[in-house]
Symmetry: C2
Subunit: 671 residues, 2 copies
């Protein structure tokens, strides 16, 4: 029996165990007060925001905890017809990459900004796995405001792990590739394929991201990471699999060795090497797309250089330590001393000691090297082993009381254990096959050990069925006592991989209600209905339109021609919370615009035939919403129908009276 056959047996056992899940009695005995614990009565608020990555939706979803109610889907990496993100002229540039306009990605890991190892509630970062990118969401507006492409990597799964003062977002390539890219046989993997570990700096005032440097690494599959905190601040820890450097059938070929390698990186040392000029500047191509809040416009810039550090040229920058077997998560405990390596095919879990690893480095207690990078002796760096914890450990978080909680994919459970003693304290089944779990602040120096959320990969029989395609399930636990208590089962949109949970009072007070119209710097803003107009410039037509309860101005437009490019620049004149207006044009090969109060958004319409087209507001905004509509007349190319627009002239005076009434109404309402 050869090694690969043994591996196949392991896989088959896993499959068998998975299949057997469906025979299990899934009814849970839930504690009597679970209903009360998760119920948020009408008019009251959830205690926490949970931000879940959208996985193959490419977005981020926002849920309330403990209620499990979804409050928002924030479009990030994928087109979102619902509000025109990626369809409007202002937001299309957010999808620019060195590959062109890429309308989709696969978002995996949420990282909230931190100061002193605690969440500060300012920004949310999330990675695009497929076409390597990192995005920033502003937590005052809940909008994606920046996307930075990461060059010369493939599969940015291992991202965007944040340092404890938001100095850097650390990421690693999941799929090594030729660097720079070239036309080489895939079987020349070991010779030509390399990995990169990337450090993106975060501007402390505005949050802007910049690719600070990249470290050239052996061609492994870098998978997950965490950064140090407290005593381990200044270091990063990245798991990898496929130290076999296989390029086909990884299921078998990347599961050959008993241990893979975790990279241990001293980024303070990287800063020294950069300062000393010990780097090479490489020419490449990657895009930086930045949203300007005042104008609402995304500006896209191609960047062409990156700084590369070579571990050989910068000694003490990178070490490895072995981790059994095909590790997935790398998790640092709140003290910053302990580091858990979750080997997904390992029968136990290795817990490392940061101080022991430092001592081993100092004493050069190495067990060989790989491509010149010293491998710290496994035993020398080990704090200890958690014996027989479960099957398929993936991820660990912490409660701030000395306990760790680990998900086990194959045995479908969450296991609680003591970090210091490695003793198992409790285990609870989940339905089924959990990936990540999250605890509020569970990766920071100050976890709030009240709740734990397990995000499960297999849903099957948890909810009313919805055909072959189902949402994934999350399960909420109360972990405030000695034993975990399951409270709630709720479906989650698309496939959340990781999530972070933050106290509502860290975010809620800063949430914007609308955009002040006096700050609107959009070049095509219409300030006041009296300025609404239509301008022609060759075959480009610009409609300067306002939206206000309950009409669009202008609402009758004539003189458009087949073949024109008509830009509708719609300014929402409202200055009130929850008063968006929408704009849609019949037959447009485009999505709608959803325009927030004070904002300007632009829809490009290229009418294809002679017709009178209807347009209207798509958001039910008032009792007379159904009346908020208009017509655009499109004539043949070469027609002499003059450009003309307006509201009904004889009613303009009454309209002004209506505006006065409305202003008065706002005054009366104390706005």
């Amino acid at each position: 029996m050869n090694r690969s056959t043994i591996n196949l047996q392991i896989i088959s056992v896993a499959i068998l165990m998975l299949a057997s899940c469906s025979n299990r009695d899934t009814r849970q005995i839930v504690h009597g007060d679970a209903a009360e614990q998760v119920y948020v009565p009408p008019g009251e608020y959830d205690e926490f925001y949970a931000f879940l990555s959208g996985g193959y939706s490419g977005q981020v979803t926002v849920y309330g905890i403990p209620s499990g109610r979804m409050f928002k889907e924030i479009p990030v990496f994928s087109q979102y017809p619902e509000n025109g993100y990626g369809y409007s002229e202002e937001t299309k540039p957010m999808f620019n990459t060195s590959y062109g306009f890429v309308p989709w990605d696969d978002s995996h890991h949420i990282e909230l900004s931190q100061q002193n190892g605690e969440f500060d509630g300012r920004w949310l970062f999330v990675n695009g796995n497929n076409t390597p990118r990192i995005a920033r969401v502003d937590l005052t507006t809940f909008e994606t405001v920046e996307i930075l492409e990461i060059p010369d990597v493939a599969g940015l799964h291992c991202a965007p792990f944040i340092t404890e003062n938001s100095e850097y977002l650390v990421s690693g390539t999941r799929f090594s590739v030729p660097i720079p890219q070239k036309d080489v046989p895939i079987e020349s993997f070991k010779e030509n394929f390399k990995g990169l570990i990337n450090y993106v700096s975060v501007d402390p005032e505005h949050g802007h991201m910049e690719l600070a440097f990249q470290i050239e690494m052996p061609g492994f599959n870098y998978d997950l990471a965490r950064n140090g905190k407290g005593p381990s601040h200044g270091w990063s820890f990245l798991t990898s699999y496929n130290s076999e450097q296989a390029h086909t059938l990884l299921e078998v070929n990347a599961s050959q060795m008993d241990k893979d390698l975790m990279a241990i990186i001293n980024w303070k040392k990287a800063e020294e090497c950069l300062a000393a000029g010990k780097f090479t500047e490489r020419t490449t191509s990657y895009y930086h797309n930045l949203h300007d809040e005042a104008s609402g416009i995304v500006k896209s810039t191609e960047l062409t250089t990156t700084k590369i550090l070579d571990p050989k040229e910068c000694p003490d920058l990178v070490y490895f330590i072995p981790v059994p077997k095909s590790p997935h998560g790398a998790d640092v405990d709140p003290t910053g001393e302990y580091l858990v390596g979750n080997g997904k095919l390992s029968a136990d879990m290795s817990v490392y000691s940061f101080s022991k690893m430092m001592k081993a480095i100092e004493e050069k207690n190495f067990d060989g090297e790989f491509d010149g990078i010293p491998i710290i002796s496994y035993e020398a760096g080990l704090h200890g082993i958690v014996q027989k914890p479960g099957l398929g450990p993936l991820h660990t978080e912490f409660d701030g009381r000395g306990n760790a909680y680990t998900t086990f994919f194959i045995s479908s459970e969450v296991v609680k254990w003591n970090v210091e003693t490695k003793e198992i304290l409790d285990r609870h089944p989940v339905y089924y096959s959990p990936g990540h779990l999250t605890i509020p602040g569970g990766e920071t120096r100050k976890p709030n050990g009240k709740y734990l959320l397990a995000m499960n990969k297999i849903t099957k029989d948890r909810f009313l069925p919805t055909g072959p395609e189902m949402m994934h399930s999350a399960q909420l636990f109360d972990i405030s006592g000695d034993k975990m208590k399951m409270l709630l089962d709720f479906p989650t949109k698309s496939e959340p991989h990781y999530a972070q949970i933050i106290a509502a009072d860290m975010v809620m007070p800063n949430s914007k209600k609308f955009y002040p119209i006096e700050e609107n710097t959009h070049p095509h803003v219409t300030l006041g209905e009296g300025n609404s107009r239509v301008e022609r410039d060759g075959d480009e037509v610009h409609v300067y339109m306002t939206a206000m309860r309950s009409h669009l101005a202008p609402d009758n437009i004539e003189g458009l021609k087949v073949g024109d490019k008509v830009f509708f620049h719609v300014t929402n004149m409202e200055q009130d919370w929850d008063m968006p207006h929408g704009f849609a044009m019949q037959g447009a090969r485009n999505a709608e615009l959803l325009v927030m109060p004070g904002q300007t958004r632009t829809l490009l319409w290229e009418p294809q035939k002679v017709s009178v087209f209807a347009f209207y507001c798509t958001d039910f905004c008032s009792a007379l919403h159904q009346e908020m509509s208009g017509y655009a007349r499109v004539s043949a190319q070469g027609s002499d129908v003059p450009l003309k627009w307006g509201l009904n002239e004889e009613l303009r005076e009454s309209q002004q009276a209506a505006n006065a009434f409305y202003d008065q109404a706002k005054t009366n309402a104390g706005k």
Copy 2:
């Protein structure tokens, strides 16, 4: 003070009342058992499916009642990067229209299929408001399987109202337009703009839709409708606004008259006229897009003729009756005798009697005519008036115990009243400004009067804030007793307009778990990993790929060239519930594919540069999901790198052993 000034005052009062909402104490005293009533313990199921239209998302969402948990978003009228709907080659044709590829719409009204005036749980129909279309969702797969465009109308808001044996889906134009379309001044509205009321037949066996006939109507804005049941079976009732026939500033100009007109249509008479050849056939263009379940491919067909009925040529086909003032909903009670006209600017509500209207028609008790269509005397058709019910009545449903429930947009409340006596029995505030409400079966002959769901237009302070853009709120009531009890507040995705709620046991037993692979007739299906291959045909390359835990085959591809059109035909070989695989290619200007078990989906990739590209499975499918990946080598145009593909050859044998293990595993699990 002229009429338009009076109207503006009404509007201003409405705005003031709306603004004052925010000063209200929103805390509700909820009955002590509300938490228990809405809590569905882990492992148990909700009692009802609620299908909510997605409004400006263009989709349909599925929630559980009473828990308020979202189980699925079904993509219908808009591109959905999450699973590749509207991006994959198979599904792109679903968006074909006479205007070209339209990737978005605005879905408003859910209609579940009926037999004998009760839901039968087979199909769901929903309208596209912007580019007029009707879609059908199959309730065994929860997938959109058909979209039919409706020609020569604009704004298909008034749709797709179903008759009690699913004979027809009735719809009306919201915005009248020139018919046929032509280049005319918008101010020639009264002369040139007409309405159409459309009847789409539903094939009783397969659900296929066909445009049976259209009735040419005066140029009003047809808004909402219901069909008769029991004694009124064979009749349709459609509200309209803008009987003023204004074309600009409808907010004022379409609110001039005290009463608008409801159309009363005898569709049995229409069938007689059609049979007698009393119609004209008009040449036009509209698309019919139909999904074939066996192949998974949508086929798109352009249709070019439509049958038009003219009320003048088909006497007794259409009548009008006046409704005060700017009516919105038209709702028929379970007995089929009573019809509620909800005049959104009216201070009271008119309830009509079907038998009295029939008597008035018989006795020719008319109050003039419009364009040759007789107007039934308001008083003659009236059952009675609900006095001072609230402000801004929009929609009414029924509990099957003789009671009606109406939403009031301006006064933000739901009011319960007795249909026979018109007496008001209860009122309950909602937060804020409800549009539709729905009761399980509340539009059918057999309502289940246990719950009522109000769908609100203003969310404001109901949930943790998410910046300027928020989801809408729904509020669930227990209506089983004399007084309505508010149970739960939950956010709903995008803007649900209408919803229908159906008992879970009508749908759940028929829900498909996967597609039998032996029934897959896709022309590019790969049946068995041994058949995976790559074929070149000029600059088109077809990759016949299989996906199975935990590898893609082939996973190494060489010989692709810049400028090729590479079609990845991915067949998911699994035959197990909840085992989708995804497929994504780095840098593709496309979304991912999410492939259900037994299904084939195709991604078109046009590589733009010389590189080795990574691809992978996007759905975390097994413990070795991270290993489910591969590489595609792209060479320069004109390169002589030969086409080559495969898994690692020396491991093919072991792989066959793995397949045998897997088959055994499935057998063991009783599949």
